[in-house]
C-alpha cells in the first residue's frame, strides 16, 4: 500500500499542475502582505473607525498574527478551489488519460488504489496547508512581528494576548486540514463518477461555491439547512479565536468560547470525508473501466 501511495505522490510531484496551487497561494499572500505593509495603517484605521470613536488603541495592531488572520479569512475560502484542481482529477484524470486501466491491471485492488490516491491527495492538501501556514503565519510574523491579536469581529472585538495566540493558529490549521480534506474527499467522489478531468473539477468547485453561498446568505429558509452543509462547518476554524469572558467581562486567557461548536464541526466534516471516500471506493469497485 505504501508503495502505491509513494507512486501517487511521485506522480503528483511530477505533474506541472501541482505547482499552480503553491504558486497561486504564494502570490496571493505576497500581494496581500505587501499591500498591508505599505498601506496597512489605512486599512487598520478603516476597520477601527467605530472603535476609535471611543477608544484609543495603543500598540501594534497590524502585527503578524492579525495579518495571518486576515490572510486566512481571505484564502481559506479559495484554497478549496485549488485543492479541487488536484483532488477532482485523481481518478478521472487517469481515466481520461487512459492510464487508470494500467493501474487497475497491477496487483493492487481497486480499493487499495482509491485509498492510496485519496491519501496521496490528502498529503498534497496538507502540504498545501503547511505552505499556506508557513507563508501566512511565519512569514507574516517575520515581516510584521508579533503582538496581541486585536480581532475585529462583526459585533465585538477580541483582544487575545500574544502568548495566547500561537496555539490557536495551530488549532485553526488542524481544523482547516479537516475542512480541506472534506473538499479533497468531495473532489474525489466527483472524480470517481466521471471519465474526464474538467467535469469533476467544475462540479466540485460549483458544489463548494453553491453551498458556500447558501451558508453565507442570511435567509431564514436557508438557515434551516445551514447546519447540515459542510461549507457551514468549514469556516469554524474562526472559533479558535473567540474567547470566554468571566461575569466581570474579563477575557479568560487560554479559553475558547465555543469548543463544542468546533467538536461538532470536526465530527460533521469527518463524517463527510468518510462518506465521500467510502462512496468513491464503492463506485470505483463496481465501475467498468471503459476508457
Amino acid at each position: 500500500m505504501w508503495s502505491i501511495i509513494q507512486i501517487e505522490l511521485y506522480k503528483i510531484y511530477k505533474r506541472p499542475r501541482t505547482y499552480i496551487a503553491f504558486g497561486a497561494i504564494a502570490a496571493l499572500i505576497w500581494v496581500i502582505q505587501m499591500g498591508l505593509k505599505i498601506d496597512g495603517e489605512a486599512y487598520a484605521a478603516f476597520l477601527m473607525k467605530d472603535i476609535n470613536n471611543t477608544l484609543v488603541v495603543d500598540g501594534k495592531v497590524l502585527n503578524g498574527y492579525l495579518i495571518c488572520y486576515i490572510l486566512l479569512q481571505l484564502l481559506l475560502v479559495h484554497v478549496p478551489l485549488l485543492v479541487a484542481l488536484i483532488a477532482a482529477d485523481m481518478l478521472s484524470g487517469e481515466a481520461n488519460l487512459g492510464t487508470l486501466r494500467l493501474l487497475f491491471t497491477t496487483p493492487y485492488s481497486r480499493t487499495q488504489w482509491v485509498l492510496a490516491k485519496f491519501i496521496a491527495a490528502s498529503i498534497y492538501t496538507i502540504l498545501l496547508l503547511i505552505w499556506l501556514a508557513a507563508l501566512a503565519l511565519f512569514l507574516s510574523m517575520f515581516i510584521f512581528g508579533t503582538d496581541d491579536l486585536f480581532l475585529m469581529k462583526s459585533n465585538y472585538v477580541v483582544l487575545i494576548e500574544s502568548q495566547d495566540v500561537f496555539w490557536r493558529y495551530v488549532g485553526a490549521f488542524v481544523f482547516a486540514s479537516f475542512s480541506l480534506l472534506t473538499v479533497t474527499a468531495l473532489g474525489f467522489l466527483m472524480s470517481s463518477l466521471a471519465n474526464n478531468s474538467i467535469g469533476p473539477i467544475v462540479a466540485t468547485i460549483s458544489a463548494i461555491v453553491f453551498f458556500t453561498i447558501l451558508s453565507t446568505l442570511n435567509i431564514p429558509l436557508f438557515n434551516v439547512i445551514k447546519p447540515y452543509l459542510f461549507t457551514t462547518h468549514m469556516n469554524n476554524w474562526k472559533e479558535f479565536f473567540d474567547i470566554q469572558v468571566t461575569d466581570n467581562n474579563e477575557a479568560i486567557t487560554g479559553s475558547i468560547l465555543n469548543i463544542q461548536k468546533i467538536k461538532t464541526s470536526l465530527i460533521v466534516l469527518s463524517v463527510h470525508i468518510i462518506l465521500f471516500v467510502g462512496a468513491s471506493v464503492v463506485i470505483m469497485k463496481k465501475k467498468d473501466v471503459l476508457s
Binding site: S3, G98, S109, K286
Partner: protein, 302 residues
Amino acid sequence: MPVIQVQSICKNFGSLEAVKDLSFEVKEGEIFGFLGQNGSGKSTTIRMLLSLIHPSSGHIEIFGQDITAHRNQIAKKMGAIIERPDLYPYLTAKEHLQLFAKLSQKKISASQIEHTLQQVGLSNRASDKAQTFSLGMKQRLGIAIALVHQPELVILDEPTNGLDPQGIADIRHLIKDLAKEEGKTVLVSSHLLTEIEQMAHQILIIHQGKKIAMGPTATLLDPTKSLMKLSTSNDAAAREKLASSEFAAYLLEREEGIYITLPTEQIAALHQYIVNAQIPILSLESKRSLEDYFLQITSQSN
C-alpha cells in the same frame, strides 16, 4: 492446464450485447490470435480478462485461478497493453518502466529495465518525456510496460496500431521471440488477418460479440483454398455464366462484385473459363482481408 480458460462469458451494456456466450482456452507457451473487426467485442473481452470490466455472466480462470477471487496474484504474472498506448505525458520512458516495475511487486533490476527498452527499440529515447513521442513510439513504450516485469502471460490488444511497416515487423518478431525464446503465453488481438496469421498458433475470430471460428492457424485458414475477386466488363453476364458452370459451388453470394472460394489449383481453370466465355477480365485478385475471410467462412457455414 490452460493459461486462460473462458467459459461462456457475456457482457451487456444496457441493451447492447457486446459479448455473447464466448468460451475459449489459451494454452501455455502459445501465441493466441484474437481476431475481430473494430467493435466486434475484442477489447471488451480483453478487459474482462484483465478485470477492468465485470462480465454480466460466465466464468474466467487464469493460471487455474478465478479472476475475481485471485485478481492480485494473477495480475503479478500478467502484462498487458489495452487498445491505445496511454501514458503519463510528464514522465519519461524510463520513469514509466521504473514506475510499473515497482507496481509489479517484483524485484526488477535497472538492467532489466534497460533490456526491456532495448527489446522495444526505445533505448535511445529512454530519457525523453512521453509527450514528445510519436504514436508508434508510445505503442512501443506501452509494450515495454507490459513486458517490464517479465510476466508469464502477455496480453496485447492491437499492439501494431500506429506503427510503420518496419515497426509492425519488429513487434511481430518480438512477439514470436517472447513465445519461442522466453516461453511466454501471448494473447494478441488485431483486426488484421495477415498480421495474426503470420505469428499465431491458434486463432479465435469473433464477430458482433460471438465466436465465429476458432482453431489452429494452419487448419482454420485453409492454405489449399483461395478467395478470389473477379472483376469483368460485364459482371452480370459473368455471374450468370459461372452460376451454370462447374464453379457454381464456389461462388459466394454477394451484391457487389463476384467472389469465389476455390481450391488454389483451380484458379487457372477459372481464369480460362471466363476467357473462353468471351467476357473481358478487368482483374482477378486474391483477397485475404478479415472482412473477406468472414465472407468466406460465413458462406461456408451456410
